[in-house]
């Protein structure tokens, strides 16, 4: 395996980790706000509040690692994406700052401010939507290279059906992943009412994920035919994804083994995400930037790979400890501590 492929694979794994852990957190914030406005807050608020605080800090580590890695491995990405993403990236960072401030202010401020809670819930949906712009522009056609400077074509971006279908898929996926995890979490806490409500949310958001994924594929075929035909060649991965989805829905529907059901959801996204990534290969940005263009020098690449693998070795056990301490520690989850 060449160093380029090793590099992008490690980065893709980090991004996948961020997507799953981030989705749980973003969706939990949205459900917390949604249930407050629909008057069902008392049912799931304790569960969500107990889940939210400690894990949040770890999620951003994945994101920071990803940024450092992509610039380190592929310095050219900074040239193309750095300029194009100045506005959307800054908006994402502002939203993240608001979200982070909510945790601090809400924990130490005591009283809850309804508008701040609302803002917090909305950022849970807006942040993933704004992140998807990266994936959308990587398909090409949204960047102009006129007179040597890169600029993002906002009109094309906002009028493209493909770009909106990706936003839709991101939002629906965040809610589905989050609801399925929280169902498991509530079940662990023996909170039957919360489990029932979250199970309902999970089932409600399950089929929309498949429908919006189909919409993304449909519009991708029109937008970038090469990528679409690469996807068709890899259709077995997407079939595995749908099988995992079917298993998850079957388990949730029959109220069985929520832990396995959540793992099936993770597998569903694992296959889809890697299928997307592999079929995107070798382009980092259609049609300007390939993975082999401007790759960093070999010494740097070897050290980066080593650093990243060490990072994973450090991060995964700490994640495991965190999960043991806060998430699946029976007395803590049930609120006895």
């Amino acid at each position: 395996m060449s160093l380029e492929i090793l590099g992008i694979s490690v980065l893709w794994i980090f991004l996948f980790g961020y997507i799953i852990i981030g989705s749980i957190d973003f969706g939990a914030g949205f459900f917390s706000t949604y249930t407050e406005w629909s008057g069902k807050k008392h049912l799931i608020h304790p569960i969500i509040q107990r889940y939210l605080s400690p894990v949040w800090e770890v999620t951003n580590v994945f994101l920071v690692f990803f940024f450092v890695g992509i610039i380190g491995f592929f310095p050219e990405t900074a040239y193309y994406y750095g300029t194009a993403l100045l506005v959307p990236g800054s908006i994402s960072i502002m939203l993240l700052a608001i979200r982070g401030a909510y945790y601090a202010f809400n924990t130490y401020g005591g009283k809850e401010n309804k508008w701040f809670t609302f803002l917090y819930g909305v950022t849970g949906v807006l942040i993933p939507a704004s992140f998807t712009i990266v994936l959308t522009i990587s398909e090409g056609g949204f960047i102009s290279l006129a007179d040597g400077s890169v600029s993002l074509l906002y009109e094309e971006l906002f009028t493209s059906a493909y770009s909106w279908s990706v936003v839709l898929l991101a939002i629906v996926s965040v809610l589905f992943i989050s609801a399925s995890f929280l169902t498991w979490y509530a079940d662990q806490a023996n909170d039957h009412k919360a489990t029932q409500l979250l199970r309902k949310y999970t089932l409600a958001w399950s089929f929309p994920t498949i429908l919006s994924a189909l919409a993304v594929m449909w519009y991708l075929r029109q937008h970038n035919a090469t990528h679409f035909s690469n996807m068709l060649d890899l259709s077995w991965i997407f079939i595995l994804s749908v099988v995992a989805f079917g298993a998850a829905v079957w388990l949730f529907y029959h109220r069985k083994r929520y832990g396995f059901a959540f793992i099936a959801v993770v597998l569903q996204y694992f296959f889809a995400f890697f299928g997307y990534g592999i079929s995107h290969f070798p382009y980092l940005l259609y049609p300007h930037l390939q993975i082999f263009d401007g790759f960093t020098n070999t010494t740097m690449a070897i050290f980066l790979v080593v650093a990243f693998v060490m990072g994973l070795v450090l991060l995964i056990p700490s994640l495991y400890l965190l999960v043991k301490l806060f998430l699946f520690n029976k007395p803590y989850v049930q609120g006895q501590r």
């Binding site: 300029t83 502002m94 202010f105 005591g110």
Partner: protein, 54 residues
């Protein structure tokens, strides 16, 4: 490479600058308010007493 050669070619730096200034002003005011409230609700004298250090 001089700073002026490395600067972004994007045209939207100014509105984003104002956006960040507004955001950090709000967060700064919020932080000061929260910190004041924290110390008012739980002054150090009280906490020292509770710890049995006074």
């Amino acid at each position: 490479m001089k700073t002026i050669e490395g600067v972004t070619t994007s045209d939207h730096v100014q509105p984003l600058f104002y956006g960040f200034v507004a955001l950090y002003t709000l967060l700064g005011v919020g932080t000061v308010r929260i910190l004041r409230k924290l110390f008012k609700n739980n002054p150090p004298e009280k906490e020292l007493k509770e710890m049995g250090l006074e």
